[in-house]
């Protein structure tokens, strides 16, 4: 697909044009609303939204302070959650006794709607950054944790052969200690699942930060959205959502770049470089 990007951008243009046409007062006859300004009131107008974003970034520049807060929360949640999830997943996967004891608790924690913890975290950690990070960590942790835990667990103990028994036996014959096995066999073979879960986690880290801010805060993009919503300023709400989405995409692309670098040992389909 040579023109893939072209089609993707084209689709975006069509969607925005549709949005613009449907909300532009007086452009189309009213079918749904009593008044031709109502569509704009409910859905915002793309041009106003764009000018809001332009204002934030270029003219007043007051987005940066809030964006910095939100990004800090997101990155902290993402980093802490991923590391804890990876460590916890590996630990439980490699320790059958602990996983047997904790299994019902793990299941319960997973099926609990964790976003509901946000108000509790606000009480525990206050209205500053900490409570948002805590929420994000909780969301990210479980994604990474489950991916690593279930994959490593099932591979090592249930005999699905992703960590190939031969590679494991070979490393042991080459003299690897249990720690070296973890570092040189289990961790590398877990990386592909870790990355697949990291892509999901990036979005959730943003969810944690934004929802936390939305529920109670004095700064951050979520706070901007909350303020705008209070005055029924849909255009600003939309602008905030678009900014968050944009940065989530950037972060996801970064993860993808790191993934490609670290996973270059993995054969890709269509690659026929045999010698």
């Amino acid at each position: 697909m040579k023109h893939l990007r072209l089609y993707q951008i084209g689709l975006l243009v069509v969607l925005v044009a549709f949005w613009w046409a449907m909300t532009k007062p007086g452009l189309l006859p009213n079918l749904m609303f009593d008044n031709d300004r109502q569509a704009a009131f409910f859905f915002g107008e793309p041009l106003t939204v764009a000018s809001r974003i332009w204002n934030w970034f270029v003219i007043t520049g007051d987005i940066y302070r809030n964006l910095l807060v939100t990004l800090t929360e997101t990155l902290l949640a993402f980093g802490i959650g991923s590391v804890l999830g990876l460590a916890g997943g590996l630990w439980l996967a490699l320790s059958p006794l602990a996983s047997a004891i904790l299994e019902p608790y793990v299941k319960a924690a997973n099926s609990m709607p964790r976003i509901i913890l946000a108000p509790i975290f606000a009480v525990w950690f206050g209205l500053g950054i900490a409570s948002k990070v805590a929420l994000g960590v909780t969301l990210v942790f479980f994604i990474v944790f489950f991916n690593v835990f279930f994959n490593v667990f099932f591979n090592v103990y249930q005999g699905v052969k992703q960590v190939s028994p031969e590679v494991l036996a070979n490393a042991r014959m080459l003299g690897a200690s249990p720690r070296q096995l973890l570092r040189h066999v289990y961790l590398p073979s877990a990386t592909s699942w870790v990355f697949s879960s990291l892509h999901t986690s990036v979005g959730l880290a943003f969810v944690g930060a934004a929802v936390g801010e939305y529920l109670g805060s004095s700064q951050g993009v979520g706070y901007l959205i909350l303020q705008a919503e209070g005055s029924f300023d849909i255009n600003t709400v939309m602008a905030g959502i678009l900014v968050l989405t944009g940065f989530a995409l950037v972060l996801d692309a970064l993860v993808g770049r790191i993934e490609r670098r670290l996973m270059k040992w993995q054969p890709r389909s269509g690659e026929t470089e045999k010698l």
Binding site: E166, M173, V185, W265, Q266
Partner: protein
Amino acid sequence: MTDASASPAPDPAPSSAPALSLDGVSCTFISRDSPGQRYTAVADVRLAVAAGEFVSVVGPTGCGKSTLLDVGAGLLAPSTGTVAVFGRPLEGINKRAGYMFQSESLMPWRTALGNVMAGLEFRGLPLPEARAQAGEWLKRVGLGGFGDRYPHQLSGGMRKRTSLAQTLALDPDIILMDEPFSALDIQTRQLMENEGLELWQRKRKAVLFITHDLDEAIAMSDRVLVMSAGPAARMIGEFMIDIPRPRDVAEIKTSARFLELHAAIWFVLREEVLEGYAQQLRAA
């Protein structure tokens, strides 16, 4: 020439203990799902490999040859019997042995060089030194320019060479090989067999070589052991291969002594192969 399984294997170096000896080894596997189901892979196996000796074990497929290697490597504890390494009972992993597996055993996330140096690295050798030694070994197996390739970028034969270098780089006193060349095409295979023999000739390590290919066994070994069909496979024959070295695996296959030995061993092996095949048909 042929020996009953009960009589002890003649030890070519009686003055010192054999490099690896298995005595009365049986392995019974219990099914994890239903503990009542048992499968005895090998029963009462006795074998000894002297230091510097090249011993092959041949037998029908599924007779438990690989199980014996796992026992010798210390990866699998036998149900009964003892394993001794240079006279000392084996506990845990056999640290004096290198094991070349039948299937892919390279770490896919390490380059060829990284794989060869893995063992040296695990033993705490400083990285630059490990890298230099591994590079030497790669050159020795003819992969000097391929150190930065990942396993999936190498052909099957090159991966086997890398495995060979990985095993030999640690300079083990005992080398266990589980059908190392069985996945290769016939030309690459003869090439690898000759190279393997040459490397072995230089260092003279004890080798326990598992194969289902009788030609390969005779061409490479000092001694060939024949196993019966499983379950409860036993040693049923032992043949000294008195063809002079150095050998060329392709050339000696036409020599009179080779054909004689081949006929003698095949006479013992044939019934077991047929028996093993019949069992597989019954199971299917």
